[in-house]
């Protein structure tokens, strides 16, 4: 039984913002299926009375003093960008519509 169809893979790939070729969608549908079947096993022991653990050691939120710290020079940060303009990241249009 296939848990994840090609359509589902394509839908999730769109959510993940990864363009896949048709052959990649087909292969992933088969591969993800195997993995999902195996991981479904966790539900066998994850009963309602077991609390979830998000981090290995208990965490409390950490704050630092509210004082300015030096930031990286703008040019150093922009140096790795695909495109820059006037000291800023240059990006494609954000909205699909005109």
């Amino acid at each position: 039984m296939s848990t994840i169809s090609r359509d589902e893979v394509a839908r999730v790939a769109a959510l993940a913002r990864i363009d896949l070729r048709p052959d990649e969608v087909a292969r992933l549908a088969g591969e993800l299926d195997v993995i999902v079947e195996s991981v479904a096993r966790v539900s066998e022991v994850a009963t309602a009375d077991v609390p979830a653990t998000s981090h290995p050691l208990p965490l409390t939120n950490v704050f630092r003093d509210d004082v300015p710290e030096p930031a990286l020079p703008i040019q150093d940060v922009l140096a790795g960008a695909p495109q820059q303009e006037n000291g800023r990241f240059a990006v494609p249009q954000i909205l699909g519509e005109e």
Binding site: I18, S38, A46, S54, G96
Partner: protein, 508 residues
Amino acid sequence: MTQDLTRLSASDLASALRNKDVTSVEATQAHLDRISAVDGDLHAFLHVSSEEALATAAEVDAQRAAGEELHPLAGVPIAVKDVVVTKGLPTTAGSKILEGWIPPYDATLVERIKAAGLPILGKTNMDEFAMGSSTEHSAYGNTKNPWDLDRIPGGSGGGSAAAVAGFEAPLAIGTDTGGSIRQPGAVTGTVGVKPTYGGVSRYGLIAMASSLDQAGPVTRSVLDAALLHELIGGHDPHDSTSINEPVPGVVAAAQQGAQGDLKGLRVGVVKELSGEGYQAGVSARFDESLDQLRALGAEIVEVSCPSFGYALDAYYLIMPAEASSNLAKFDGMRFGLRVEPAEGPVTAERVMGATRGAGFGDEVKRRVILGTYALSAGYYDAYYGSAQKVRTLIQRDFAAAFEQADVLVSPTAPTTAFKFGEKLDDPLAMYLNDIATIPANLAGVPGMSLPNGLSDDGLPVGFQILAPAKADDRLYRVGAALEAALESRWGGPLLNQAPELKTTELAR
């Protein structure tokens, strides 16, 4: 000095430097020469930073000559896994999406390495974004195992392990999310330690799974690992999960352990991490090591961790879910690759899809899509939520086991190094490599792998030691004791038995 400087342990090289028997420039050049001679075959390095390394070495030599107080490891060269950002040195995490990227800052652990005066030889190969157990998922080609060039060096940190095993570097940095330090250590006959989660700062590590990732030492001896652990460990205000306590006394523990007295120590054998699925030679070496520990005075007890059977399943939900979120930053806007769609409007969303489609390899796509699926509406509770509950169960198993034993032990990996391509088309078989290492990441406890012999196929086997959170020193005490006993039996380190690598004549 006429002896081959690349064969020295980091601690012996450090002593030679302190005694002024050798300079850091000589030691660094010897390793760079070795890299030139063997890395064409091994391909442990993605980038070699000769100039920067020699400059650091010269600086340390000058400071030493001037009588300045230096860090014990000052002048000892080191290799850094390419998932750790290094200011001014290319950092790709093994991915095409970051090809040519030069970070504008140093990871905290790199800052500490630089402050201590260790010349950085270069950046080591790895599975893309640390996703893999063989380096076959690197976008830049496989790293070879120095014991057999047709075999995998483990992963994801196969480059760091091969560099150390191949005498290209005495020390290296690795990162371990599900075993990426320990499993490469096992299959290359080297020592690898995953510290307690929070023991070493994650600031400047290109994150895969933030609640599992941990950086640690990759070396040829337990003492060397301890020296590097103390250097990179400790609190960092830039990492909110960093433990705000002193690093456990790992160097002292390694020195104490090397005396070989383990009287009163309780060693727990994890029942679920042995037997079926473990290669006969791996099991045989493991049993011999238990006898060895018993001979050193340790008491061996069997412990049961029934939830470990679900660890792999939980891991393969938590890890992709966190990875899918962490890798969202690779959007083609601020760093790395940008690819525009072949047709249609050029919008940010479509550029992101095209960039990731072109820039991510198969395994990264697989895990990001699985993670996105596990986190998407309707599946969260069943998948990610359930996996987090398994984490609680595994922690409880560890807590119960550590009531009965001071450390837990198992083989590090079920098999010795396999051949390239053998498991590439079967993700589940590949994932099974990590079956014994993953529980430690889920629970946050520290783990070490050290070589404990050769299997029937003549390839190295790894012995894993696990300790309670923040008790990393126990790994070093037990590891150093076992190492000393084994090496006295072998007549030297296991790596002395590795075949000589073919060297390329240096063009001078």
